[in-house]
């Protein structure tokens, strides 16, 4: 079983009945009941889901939130099967899935709760400062093996990737490699920190890491600007460019809910997209929505 899948948060609170959910005024006379909210879906988001839930349950002891991973697809089918309240998804629902929801009488509500960007990093001495998406794809699938082929020095390219178990690996494979396989010669590093470490040592290396980590690494590595295609202007990875969507290797992270009139869920969503929730987003290494 997926390890993230096992990771669920269930904190049963002692009902002190200090305050009720905001916007839940009708139940002011019955404070002893706890509301259970289930979140299921993206493995990438489990970490941040858990952080939100824990913070929210601290201030709302009458709410009990459980978080389960399994993948965005798993979460979406759970929402359609009405076995989860919130589906966490790192991709938007397909037209087919939306149609299925409509058929089942589920009114979908889509909320972007955070954004996730991936930066390509090279050694600070590397003269290359920008690549287009096609070049990146070819570098990691093995079609381009020399820096010369992308107007760099006459040296072989050392490609570094995360391990196959990483959510970033799958996102990169899907969106940058266009679902092609990584080349066999791509070195798989056990952690983001080891990618940063190796790139900072090897002049010819290129790797990809979450934007938060890349910015944190500072001058140890150089962040490449990415062009959507050969003719587009290069865009450097930053919180702003990820938020506006001009940086190509980024994605919004969604919460999908079925029932829009459910007050506790609406309150939780408001918390996640509010200032406190977005502060947690930043702390978790993702990019806030606003």
């Amino acid at each position: 079983m997926n390890i993230l899948c096992v990771l669920r948060t269930t904190v049963f609170s002692v009902v002190l009945s200090v305050a009720l959910l905001s916007g839940c005024g009708s139940s002011a006379n019955a404070p002893k009941t706890t509301t259970a909210i289930a979140i299921k879906g993206s493995d990438t988001m489990v970490h941040i889901d858990t952080a939100w839930s824990e913070a929210y349950m601290l201030s709302h002891p009458d709410v009990d939130i459980s978080v389960t991973g399994g993948g965005s697809g798993t979460g979406i089918s759970a929402l359609l099967g009405k076995s989860t309240d919130i589906c966490a998804s790192s991709r938007d629902m397909s037209a087919e899935e939306k149609k299925k929801a409509a058929d089942q009488g589920i009114t979908l509500q889509e909320t972007i709760v955070a954004r996730d960007g991936i930066a390509l990093v090279v050694h600070p001495s590397n003269p290359i400062s920008e690549l287009d998406m096609e070049q990146v794809q070819k570098i990691f699938t093995g079609a381009i093996t020399q820096w010369e082929q992308v107007n760099g020095p006459a040296k072989p390219i050392v490609t570094l990737s995360r391990e196959t178990s990483s959510g970033t690996y799958v996102f990169f494979q899907e969106h940058v490699l266009k679902k092609q396989d990584f080349a066999a010669s791509v070195r798989l590093m056990p952690a983001t920190a080891t990618i940063i470490q190796s790139v900072s040592e090897d002049e010819t290396a290129i790797g990809y890491v979450g934007l938060g980590y890349a910015i944190e690494a500072g001058a140890k590595v150089k962040l490449l600007s990415i062009k959507k295609d050969g003719a587009s202007p290069p865009v450097s990875p930053s919180e702003d460019t990820v938020r506006t969507g001009s940086y190509s290797i980024a994605r919004p992270l969604y919460f999908y809910t079925g029932a829009t009139n459910n007050a506790p869920i609406a309150a939780f969503l408001a918390f996640c997209t509010g200032p406190d929730g977005q502060k947690i987003v930043k702390e978790a290494g993702y990019v806030p929505v606003n």
Partner: protein, 333 residues
């Protein structure tokens, strides 16, 4: 006096579950107990405690056997569905691509080759180094030197492999890169050097014990014949200790094959079919460690990882068998 406790031992054996009786360890244990005359005399006086003690020791000895058996069973139980669905022939492929939008491939050959390459390289580095050090400490070093060297070597053995791996990533890999003019230090060679460092303390201390346990008379005879100290070391003492040295090497290799963290950090983990020490390799242990944590329970990938585990188990099993054979051969001659 010798007979009666023996009879009691047989009696006690009758109370054992049959599974415990069948273990080969038990015979050795009973033999060992019988070989101590005082133990026999003591237990005759206290029959109940004899039986209790015997049961306890038998249980201890059998537990490891039982656990090995259960591990084997568990591994096969988890791995077996792979045989019918993708088919065992898939394991013989040359590409390991467990996560793919195209077609998942579970060829374990690059992983086996990776483990083999790293182990062989580590052996080439660790054996001469380890045996040389053992000869020096046992035969040539002054007592004060020995007192200093031995704790140092034991200290090397005490370093956790993650720490060594981190050292490898930050210090060794850049060094290998600079010395061999490579584009990166994340190579099979870096992994092998780290593993050699880990195997060396085992090889040194066991080989040193073996050399020191060669009877004094051998050396004295050799020196009396007019041989120099060096000739004695080279032609008499070391050959006499050869079985112990082989055992030391095999145990050192055992540590190398099974080591995970250090190789995971420095070999680059690219599943390539290569025999070059300057390429990246992905070992079997690193594959299991890196992928088992996130793999979906019961999936084809999960089962494939169990086959990797079984292959690894057989590799160490064969290594042990060969070691036993070699040991027996030298002991006879």
């Amino acid at each position: 006096m010798g007979l009666e406790p023996d009879a009691k031992v047989e009696e006690a054996g009758g109370e054992h579950p049959p599974a415990l009786r069948a273990t080969p360890f038990e015979g050795g244990l009973v033999g060992a107990l019988r070989a101590i005359p005082f133990a026999g005399g003591y237990f005759r006086i206290a029959g109940a405690s004899e039986r209790g003690a015997r049961l306890f020791f038998a249980a201890c000895a059998s537990t490891s056997m039982l656990i090995v058996l259960l591990i084997f069973l568990f591994l096969f139980k988890e791995a077996v569905p792979f045989v019918s669905k993708p088919g065992l022939s898939d394991l013989a492929g040359t590409r390991w691509v467990p996560v793919s939008f195209q077609h998942e491939l579970f060829g374990i050959l690059p992983l086996v080759l990776g483990s083999l390459l790293v182990t062989l390289l580590a052996s080439v580095l660790a054996i001469p180094f380890g045996v040389g050090a053992a000869i020096y400490i046992a035969e040539l070093a002054r007592p004060a030197e020995r007192e200093f060297l031995k704790p140092c070597i034991e200290m090397l053995a005490a370093i956790p492999s993650v720490v060594l791996g981190f050292f490898g990533l930050v210090v060794l890999a850049p060094l290998v890169k600079a010395v061999f003019h490579l584009s990166t230090g994340l190579t099979a060679l870096s992994g092998a050097i780290l593993l050699a460092l880990m195997a060396a303390p085992t090889i040194i201390s066991i080989a040193e014990d073996a050399i020191r346990s060669v009877p004094r008379s051998y050396r004295e005879a050799s020196l009396a014949m007019g041989a120099t100290h060096m000739q004695t070391v080279w032609k008499v003492t070391t050959p006499a200790a050869l079985s112990g040295i082989v055992a030391a090497v095999m145990l050192g290799m055992g540590r190398v094959v099974g080591e995970t963290m250090a190789v995971l950090m420095v070999t680059g983990n690219a599943a390539m079919m290569t025999l070059s020490p300057f390429d990246s390799v992905r070992t079997m242990t690193a594959t299991i460690a890196a992928e088992m944590g996130e793999v979906t329970f019961g999936s084809t990938h999960y089962q494939a990882l169990f086959w990797v585990g079984i292959t690894l188990l057989f590799a160490t099993f064969i290594l042990n068998m060969v070691a036993q054979r070699v040991l027996r051969k030298y002991q006879r001659s």
